[in-house]
């Protein structure tokens, strides 16, 4: 198993180098360089030449790339053009918010997706199955930004049950440990913070996880239907095993394998959806930082965010592959 993990890890290195090449040369293709953007209209031509020399922009492009890569490996993406703070500092502030949101969305998607899928598979072609699958079709087709707006309108605006956005109630602060207010609130015993953070997390997590929930429900229904028709399930039924036990102990475990792969694929969807969700719910996460930086042409931050997001994505996929290999030993030896 360790050999398998090591092999898969080594395979990630060229992918991440490829990502860094694409990000670096992509940003390099944009007219105007960082020195011009940093100086704005204020500097003279001599200032521009001096700054370019300081930043190494007068070096050949391959040298610039190697320096960029060496910096990136150490978490140095340069200075934010917008705030003049180190880009990595901005990313460090934003990342916990996105991780908290994505994990909550994924949990919602897995729990409700599996529940709907298994329920529909246990009552195939029934009215409930048809209704659930119609809901799934709507869920798969709904744009995350519209889901977010509708949830805000109904549960925040009309019913007033949940807050309209932000991380916490207005004016509330918390002692940072991980940067995730819900986790920090629980860890440090700040119950008011934890309660407020949980309350504020519900709508964004549901909005972000809704499409993934529908996709997981669809896949788990399909695989459960297939597994419930297999011989060993029929044998279990013939032996008089209770239907509930058949589903939990025999069918669900085997039906989960394709769902695990699907969860891995959903991570990319969640990281992308986070850009939109964080914009709608005014959450200061990585997605909102990315869009703010793109609009402000803050390229050091854009490069950092994209590289780190791609890194999280490939590592999460590696984790899913390892989990898959653990669940199905045939994969390890293929």
């Amino acid at each position: 198993m360790l050999k398998y993990i090591a092999r898969r890890f080594v395979q990630l290195v060229p992918v991440m180098i490829g990502v860094s090449i694409l990000v670096f040369f992509g940003m390099h293709a944009i007219p105007g360089d960082v020195a011009e953007l940093l100086l704005g209209d204020k500097g003279t031509q001599a200032d521009l030449i001096r700054l370019r020399h300081q930043l190494g922009l007068d070096q050949p492009v391959y040298i610039q790339y190697v320096r960029f890569l060496a910096g990136a490996v150490q978490g140095d993406f340069g200075i934010s053009l917008r705030t003049r703070a180190p880009a990595i500092w901005e990313i460090e502030q934003a990342m916990p918010v996105t991780i908290q949101l994505s994990v909550a969305a994924l949990l919602f998607a897995i729990v409700f997706g599996l529940a709907v899928g298994v329920f529909a598979a246990r009552h195939p072609r029934s009215l409930a199955d048809t209704g659930a699958m119609m809901g799934v079709l709507v869920g798969v087709s709904m744009p995350v930004f519209w889901t977010g707006i509708l949830l805000l309108l109904v549960f925040g605006g009309i019913l007033g049950w949940l807050p309209l956005g932000n991380l916490l109630d207005e004016g509330m602060t918390w002692r940072h440990v991980t940067g995730m207010p819900l986790v920090d609130g629980l860890l440090t015993g700040q119950w008011a913070v934890a309660r407020s953070a949980a309350w504020h997390l519900v709508l964004p997590a549901v909005a972000l996880g809704f499409t993934s929930m529908a996709t997981i429900a669809r896949m788990s229904r399909s695989t459960m239907l297939e597994v419930l028709g297999l011989d060993y399930v029929r044998t279990a039924r013939a032996k008089g095993v209770l239907e509930r036990r058949i589903v939990r102990r025999h069918a669900l475990r085997n039906a989960l394998l394709p769902v695990v792969t699907l969860v891995g694929l959903q991570l990319g969807l969640l990281l992308s959806g986070a850009v939109l969700t964080e914009t709608i719910f005014a959450l200061p996460g990585l997605g909102r930082l990315a869009i703010t930086s793109v609009l402000a042409r803050d390229y050091p931050v854009v490069q950092g965010v994209v590289l780190i997001a791609a890194g999280i994505f490939v590592l999460a996929n590696l984790l899913v592959d390892v989990l898959y290999a653990y669940l199905d030993p045939r994969i390890r030896y293929a």
Binding site: L22, S141, W146, I149, L150, L152, A309, A310
Partner: protein
């Protein structure tokens, strides 16, 4: 018609009749088809159906709720939302088709080249695909838009590029399965060149999965392009684009919810239409998957 020709054409006719019967019996395809006819009809006849010019401002009619005069209400500039949604269908369908077209063209090219020639070409293309798939798709699209500059057409190009690796991977797999078949070997044996083999023998045999994926991705391309416009990286006001209409509507969500509701509903209905047709076609063209959809 000779007896031999008749004997050859009979099974084909029977297969065609069977496919047609399945086609008309598939509720997914029928509902999807009806939905898309409505959407495409709205786009084509927007000029005739729309009661108002989609960009004409009428400050006396600001933020009116839905009424017989303005079926979907009006926005903050007094523009008729119904007319804007109708004209928005043109942009949405155009965006979906252009983005999908770019993805298909590039994806099929790289997939065919990679799968057919193999060796270092295959390795190089597939590593490139791996790198592109390592990006969360919206971030990749944002980079492309950042490089090209924010505009609707650049948003379409960005989404096209984002979907390219998926098509390349699909086509490569299909080509790998086809290239070792006897009829391809036979064509190679009689001296057919690579271009002829690919054009006459390989491509026609991998069309089914391409068609299914293309149908499913049109809907998603529409959503992604609207998403980029929602973020301010695509269409700009006063263009009646569904994503940018939703972005505007967000500010008036509590006072005039109809501004965001109807463009969102339009996106949802259009994507459902494409998804139903995609699922229906997949069931029809790939019998192994029949019965696994809904």
């Amino acid at each position: 018609m000779s007896a031999v020709e008749a004997a050859v054409s009979e099974p084909r006719r029977r297969a065609a009749a069977l496919s047609w019967r399945r086609l008309v019996r598939s509720p997914n395809l029928i509902i999807g088809f009806v939905v898309l006819v409505v959407v495409i009809g709205s786009a084509v006849f927007a000029g005739q159906i729309a009661p108002y010019n989609p960009i004409d401002q009428a400050f006396a009619d600001q933020l009116l709720s839905p009424s017989p005069g303005h079926l979907f209400g009006t926005d903050e500039f007094g523009r008729d939302i119904f007319s804007r949604v109708l004209f928005g269908a043109r942009i949405a369908l155009g965006a979906g088709i252009v983005a999908d077209g770019i993805a298909i063209a590039l994806g099929v090219f790289f997939g065919v080249v990679s799968g057919y020639f193999g060796g270092w070409v295959d390795s190089a293309v597939m590593r490139g695909v791996d790198v592109m798939l390592a990006f969360p798709y919206l971030l990749l699209a944002m980079i492309v838009v950042a490089i090209l500059g924010p505009s609707l057409i650049n948003a379409m190009i960005a989404i096209g590029i984002v979907y390219t690796p998926q098509f390349a991977r699909l086509v490569r797999g299909a080509v790998l399965a086809i290239r070792e078949q006897d009829f391809v070997e036979a064509a190679r044996g009689v001296g057919a060149g690579a271009t002829r083999i690919l054009g006459r023998h390989v491509l026609p045999n991998i069309l089914s999965p391409i068609i299914v994926m293309a149908t499913l991705t049109v809907g998603f391309a529409i959503v992604e392009t609207a998403g980029l416009s929602f973020l301010g990286l695509g269409a700009t006001p006063p263009t009646p684009e569904w994503g940018s209409m939703l972005a505007t509507g967000r500010s008036y969500m509590l006072t005039a919810p109809w501004i965001a509701t109807f463009p969102g509903l339009a996106i949802l209905v259009t994507v459902i239409g494409f998804n139903l047709i995609g699922d229906g076609l997949r069931d029809l063209l790939d019998p192994r998957l029949r019965g696994h959809g809904f």
